[in-house]
């Protein structure tokens, strides 16, 4: 086995320390007894206790999850359709405009997206609330979904669809029975991406939410603007834990599948 040079080892160690130490400190100090976040005063879980009694946070969390589930689901449907149109749709009127509108939100500053959507909602007299946040999040996250799904579709062997047609499927049956099951992993990652983007978003939600619906990032932002608080540390720790467990278990499942598939392929070639 090749050994790594000391330079590479040092740059990786320092780099990952830079990425992870801040979060580690956050997690450790969420268990601090003291109200003063930078002075260690003994282990305690009292901030978690206060957190789950804080109704404002719980309400905001509930709104955030509702918005994320709805927007990511709609975004997945629309984004998959858009990806299919882009990769398989051939030529149609306004194709350039369409692909432009798919890619533009990826590089658009959030302040502009948020501002423009707010002005639209006011223009058409739509009351700001859960609905408007869902509409806004769906619009920008469907573009991410379509990028993820279309990168899978590009490598998709087109003869699989042709084989389905050849064996008597209509175009929609071919999509439902062959294409969709095969691209499902990409569609699921698209959904997860849209879900996290929605959970994370502060700027666009700030523009498009109303007094009736406050999301967790908005709540966190207004709290941390005043400074560091142990309660926010506890909340952050919970969020980091959920994401870490989710990402690690997803990648483990994925890795096991890949390993099993490789093993089976090898066995098949030997037989």
């Amino acid at each position: 086995m090749k050994r790594m040079s000391w330079f590479n080892t040092v740059s990786l160690t320092l780099g990952f320390a830079f990425l992870y130490v801040p979060m580690l400190i956050l997690v450790i100090y969420s268990f601090n007894e003291s109200k003063l976040v930078t002075v260690w005063a003994g282990f305690s879980t009292k901030w978690y206790g206060e957190l789950i009694q804080n109704e404002a946070f719980l309400n905001a969390a509930w709104v955030t999850i509702k918005v994320a589930v709805m927007s990511s689901t709609i975004a997945t449907v629309l984004g998959t359709m858009a990806a299919y149109v882009l990769v398989r749709g051939g030529r149609f009127m306004g194709r350039t405009l369409f692909s432009g509108m798919i890619y533009a939100p990826l590089v658009m500053p959030e302040v502009i997206t948020g501002l423009s959507l707010l002005l639209l909602f006011i223009g058409i007299g739509l009351d700001r609330g859960v609905l408007t946040i869902v509409l806004a999040h769906t619009t920008f996250s469907m573009c991410y979904v379509s990028v993820v799904v279309s990168s899978r579709l590009v490598t998709f062997d087109k003869s699989l669809e042709e084989a389905a047609l050849d064996l008597g499927c209509s175009a929609s049956e071919a999509f439902r029975l062959v294409t969709l099951p095969i691209i499902a992993p990409a569609v699921i990652s698209g959904w997860l991406l849209a879900f996290t983007l929605s959970l994370d978003d502060l700027v666009i939600a700030s523009f498009t939410s109303g007094p009736a619906a406050t999301t967790l990032p908005i709540k966190i932002y207004s709290a941390v603007r005043l400074g560091v608080s142990p309660e926010i540390n506890a909340l952050s720790t919970l969020m980091i834990a959920v994401v870490t467990i989710g990402v690690i278990s997803a990648s483990l499942v994925n890795k096991r599948q890949v390993v099993r598939q490789q093993r089976e392929e090898k066995a098949a070639e030997r037989s």
């Binding site: 062997d157 084989a163 047609l165 050849d166 064996l167 008597g168 392929e265 098949a268």
Partner: protein
């Protein structure tokens, strides 16, 4: 007992199953198929042979319905296929990549087309079992495509496309992904299955040996046109053009001018300083017409001494020997500088080979050994 000859193309009464009528297909400026007319008969094993880009795959995709002709019409059993979408055609296709559905088991792959027909469950079971038996895949029914070997995948693809009793089976480079040994075995398996099921097969391939082995007739294509359609032996023995002669197997092409000197007999003047060659040809040439003599290396005999009583004999020096195990090909340079290849079977051990480099030898062949082609 005599085996009845299967030659519907020689029977003026026989109606072709597939009829291409003046079919042209253009992609933008590129003409993939150029005004092509041909008939393919029921129960034929028909091979489309040509280099990549010659239009053979386009022809097949038009039969399957994935492409539509720009001009002309395609008839299947007398019916114009233009308005029929791929999923309503009585044709099935075996894809070059096999296109097995990775998320379905072998059994489900084979049953896929039958389920689309809304066939009763029991009938589907019977038919899938029959196909599994035919392709010797019974043991693998519940496996997924990635759990079987390349050769087995190829058989699944075949079983899946045959399951629906197609009138016509299209095979797009069906053996391209297999290694050479497996490919040769599978060629015979394909012929066997074609005979058992009595289905009309159209195969696309760039491998001339494969086309010659499996097909009842071979169509050699180039640039969207069919150059020659004939049985494998006629394609090899009597090619109609330099292109076909050169594409199939090894060949010596000798350029010259023909002079008639008897019935179907010509004297061909070629390189300066060489005696004219005696050639018999059923196609007639006028006096002084320039021509090519195509002659296969294995029809050229190599001798140590000047042979007597032969139609043609030339003297030369051995330039190169390609030892192929069973055969050796000798490259013999004539005094005029031309090189002629002669092939002979290695019936003796190599240490006792009669000829070696720089030897002076005599090449001879009969008047009927070669084919005289117009330019």
């Amino acid at each position: 007992m005599t085996i009845p000859e299967f030659e519907p193309w020689n029977d003026p009464e026989a109606k072709p199953l597939i009829q291409f009528q003046n079919v042209t297909k253009r992609f933008g400026d590129f003409t993939a198929i150029d005004d092509l007319t041909i008939g393919i008969y029921e129960k034929e094993f028909f091979a489309l042979l040509g280099p990549s880009g010659c239009g053979k795959t386009t022809m097949m995709r038009m039969l399957a319905g994935f492409e539509t002709p720009t001009e002309g019409a395609i008839f299947l059993a007398g019916q114009d296929m233009a308005p029929v979408p791929p999923n309503k055609r009585a044709t099935n296709m075996m894809f070059q990549s096999y296109a097995l559905f990775p998320h379905l088991s072998i059994w489900e792959n084979i049953a896929f087309g039958l389920k689309r027909e809304k066939m009763p469950k029991a009938d589907i079971d019977d038919r899938v079992d029959e196909m599994l038996r035919l392709t010797r895949l019974e043991k693998f029914a519940s496996r997924k495509p990635h759990q079987i070997s390349g050769g087995q995948r190829q058989r699944v693809a075949l079983a899946r496309s045959l399951a629906k009793h197609p009138k016509l089976l299209l095979l797009d480079e069906p053996l391209g992904a297999l290694d050479k040994k497996l490919r040769q075995e599978t060629q015979f398996e394909l012929m066997d299955i074609q005979e058992k099921t009595g289905t009309t097969f159209v195969i696309v391939t760039h491998d001339q040996e494969e086309a010659m082995t499996v097909a009842s007739r071979v169509a050699v294509m180039d640039h969207g046109k069919i150059i020659q359609v004939a049985t494998p032996d006629r394609i090899y023995e009597t090619p109609n053009s330099v292109y076909v002669a050169d594409f199939i197997g090894e060949v010596n092409i000798i350029d010259g001018t023909a002079t008639p000197n008897g019935e179907d007999s010509y004297s061909v003047a070629w390189k300066d300083g060489q005696a004219p060659l005696n050639v018999k040809s059923p196609t007639s040439f006028s006096d002084g017409q320039s021509c090519h003599l195509a002659i296969r290396p294995e029809k050229v005999t190599i001798n140590a001494e000047k042979p007597t009583g032969v139609d043609n004999a030339v003297e030369g020096k051995i330039l190169d020997i390609a030892y192929l195990g069973n055969l050796s090909t000798y490259h013999v340079e004539l005094p005029s500088g031309a090189v002629i290849k002669a092939q002979s079977a290695n019936t003796r051990r190599i240490s006792r080979r009669a000829f070696t480099w720089e030897d002076t030898v005599w090449l001879s062949w009969t008047a009927t050994a070669g084919v005289l082609l117009a330019t």
